[in-house]
């Protein structure tokens, strides 16, 4: 399809990674880029394509992580089932949030999403009897694919690559299909779209629910990959911001943007960790200062993000051969 070659190159390189690279450090980076890229892409489905900016998407990530971890530790259920349960729960909450989005626009919706993720954070960290409270849950390692007890990082690359490509296709669908055009119409002018017979509410609810479910899937995989679920991390506003920031940096409402943004953020994080290694809290602070500053500067000079910016540059240059 037209205009998808950068994505094809990106995902092909990611798929080649495990074949060429053996270094676990680099493979770990690849897994995280694809996983965080997938969460940012899932955020983009609601925030970019449907125009419903959420700063509470960590709630869905946490639902996925907790579903997989709790079902696994308490009833020895496979994390794949846990993943499914998390996705179903997230869909249910996503639908609720979707209906709420019809009543609340702009900053009101943002505030509601923050409150929602905070409620889940408090429930997860205080309901000691069920969730193990603020201590978090160590995910037991049970070897095998069915239990997702995998030490080989190349297998992990394959698993998260499937998720990442699936999310890219979802985004592509939203960009090019009739439904996608309708959703864009709703985003740009809901009243006009309604008057043309576009089922605005149904589309928005579906987009937010899909975004929520896919975020939960990523959360469940993340919990198995990392092996520990901390309520103050998986439900944090910082994590919600991370999803949003990757999508914004790369290009909000572009299919490849979230992956590019996630890769850049991880690269920055890794570089600073190597540069200032061992400072602990200070290190976290430094890259978050850069995060915040980049966000402010981006909003001022290039709120559309990097992908459209690069695209513009390429188009302005006379191109030999078929137009990209």
């Amino acid at each position: 399809m037209k205009g998808t070659w950068p994505a094809v190159v990106f995902f092909a390189l990611a798929a080649l990674g495990p074949v060429v690279v053996r270094d676990p450090f680099l493979l770990d980076g690849l897994v995280l880029i694809l996983l965080w890229g997938a969460t940012a892409a899932a955020w983009n489905v609601a925030g970019g394509y449907a125009g419903q900016i959420s700063l509470g998407h960590a709630a869905f990530f946490g639902l996925g992580a907790y579903s997989a971890a709790l079902l696994g530790t308490r009833w020895e259920v496979s994390p794949w089932i846990g993943l499914l349960v998390g996705a179903i729960l997230a869909t249910a909450f996503g639908i609720l949030l979707g209906f709420l989005s019809n009543r609340l626009r702009g900053p009101y919706f943002v505030l509601a999403t923050i409150a929602f993720s905070q409620v889940l954070l408090i429930v997860a960290s205080r309901w000691r009897g069920f969730t193990a409270g603020s201590e978090g849950i160590p995910v037991p390692f049970r070897p095998g694919f069915w239990t997702l007890g995998i030490t080989d990082k190349r297998v992990w690359v394959a698993i998260v690559l499937v998720l990442a490509v699936f999310l890219y296709l979802v985004e592509l669908y939203l960009e090019r299909s009739r439904r996608g055009y309708q959703l864009a119409a709703v985003r740009e002018d809901e009243d006009a779209a309604l008057s043309l017979g576009v089922p605005a509410l149904r589309l928005k609810v579906a987009a937010i629910a899909a975004s929520a479910a896919l975020t939960a899937v990523a959360g469940a995989l993340w919990a198995q990959y990392v092996g520990f679920v901390d309520p103050f991390y998986v439900f944090s506003i910082d994590l919600s911001l991370r999803f949003a920031l990757a999508a914004i940096l790369g290009g909000i409402g572009t299919p490849l943007g979230p992956f590019l943004g996630a890769a850049l953020i991880l690269a920055l994080e890794t570089y600073l960790r190597a540069r200032f290694g061992g400072i602990g809290a200070g290190l976290v602070g430094i890259y978050l200062i850069i995060y915040g500053t980049v966000l402010v500067v981006m909003m001022r000079f290039a709120p559309q993000g990097l992908v459209p910016l690069i695209g513009e540059r390429l188009r302005r240059r006379p191109v030999a051969g078929p137009a990209a």
Binding site: A115, I122, R126, A244, G285, L288, L295, V296, M299, P303
Partner: protein, 293 residues
């Protein structure tokens, strides 16, 4: 029933401080139509200001309060010029992420400079309590409440009677018309932002002798302020005052009845409930939230 007066007094004291935080937030929203997601960070900076003045210069927080007013106001003005002015006519989403970016940056500057440890301002009158009938209250809380009420009253008077205040209200009502009447709305926005920041900065200084200071301290207070501001109707000053008392009552009574561990859930659920049932707030105009303006 001996707890009732205590609960009542605690509610009013807490509500007064919440009001000062909420009033700044709602003022900025009312005039500029911006939800300031960095509001809590200005509170945090106010608290650190009081802490460092106390730790390094042995300045009492209440002395700091008076001395630092121009400093906080100036910082607010500067943050408007550098961060907010370029995006003041941009879309809601751009503004939301600009203030979010500001919030992340400020929070982590504090983290890098002053570490994540909780710091305390231990004044000599830290443990002094005042008895009022059967209720007992902390002196620092009482002073914070009194100053907060004074500041809020001063702000109301300023908006009601001063020429500048009228200009601000005119801009809030219709910025296009205000600008046609010759009002320099750019200056009004800068002033509004700086005044809003000053309110919350003052609240921070007042809170320093009562609560520990750490880089993310703003979040817990600003969440309460969001609840109060939405409950009162975004942009509605008087509504924010009454709503602050309601939120404080929910918190105080909730802590007493079901314990402090779950009190946050109470007001967050209250918040989501209001957003669902009556997003324009108790006193706001119906439909304001749907336009998103």
């Amino acid at each position: 029933m001996h707890v009732v007066p205590q609960l009542l007094v605690s509610t009013i004291l807490l509500g007064g401080i919440y009001a000062l935080i909420a009033v700044g937030l709602t003022l900025i929203f009312g005039v500029m139509r911006v939800v300031n997601f960095a509001h809590g960070e200005f509170l945090m900076l106010g608290m650190y200001l009081a802490f460092w003045a106390f730790a390094l210069l042995r300045l009492d927080p209440y002395v700091t309060l008076v001395l630092s007013l121009p400093l906080i106001f100036g910082f607010g003005w500067l943050s408007y010029r550098m961060v907010m002015r370029p995006v003041i006519h941009a879309s809601h989403n751009v503004q939301v992420f600009t203030t979010v970016g500001l919030s992340i940056a400020l929070q982590n500057v504090a983290l890098v400079l002053w570490s994540a440890d909780s710091q305390f301002v231990r004044t000599s009158y830290y443990t002094v309590v005042v008895r009022l009938g059967s209720a007992v209250l902390n002196l620092a809380q009482l002073i914070a409440f009194a100053v907060a009420v004074l500041c809020t009253a001063a702000l109301f008077a300023f908006l009601r009677w001063s020429y500048t205040g009228k200009v601000m209200r005119a801009t809030a009502q219709d910025r296009a018309a205000a600008s046609l009447m010759g009002i320099d709305t750019g200056r009004v926005f800068a002033l509004t932002w700086a005044v809003g920041v000053t309110c919350v900065g003052v609240a921070g200084v007042l809170l320093a002798p009562i609560y520990p200071v750490y880089p993310t301290v703003g979040l817990q207070f600003v969440l309460i302020a969001y609840v109060a501001v939405v409950l009162g109707g975004l942009g509605d000053m008087a509504g924010a005052l009454i709503a602050s008392l309601i939120v404080a009552a929910v918190e105080v009574i909730g802590s007493y009845v079901i314990g402090t561990a779950w009190k946050e859930v109470l007001y967050l659920l209250l918040f989501i409930g209001i957003l669902v049932v009556r997003p324009a707030g108790l006193f706001g105009q119906r439909g304001a939230e749907a336009i998103g303006t």
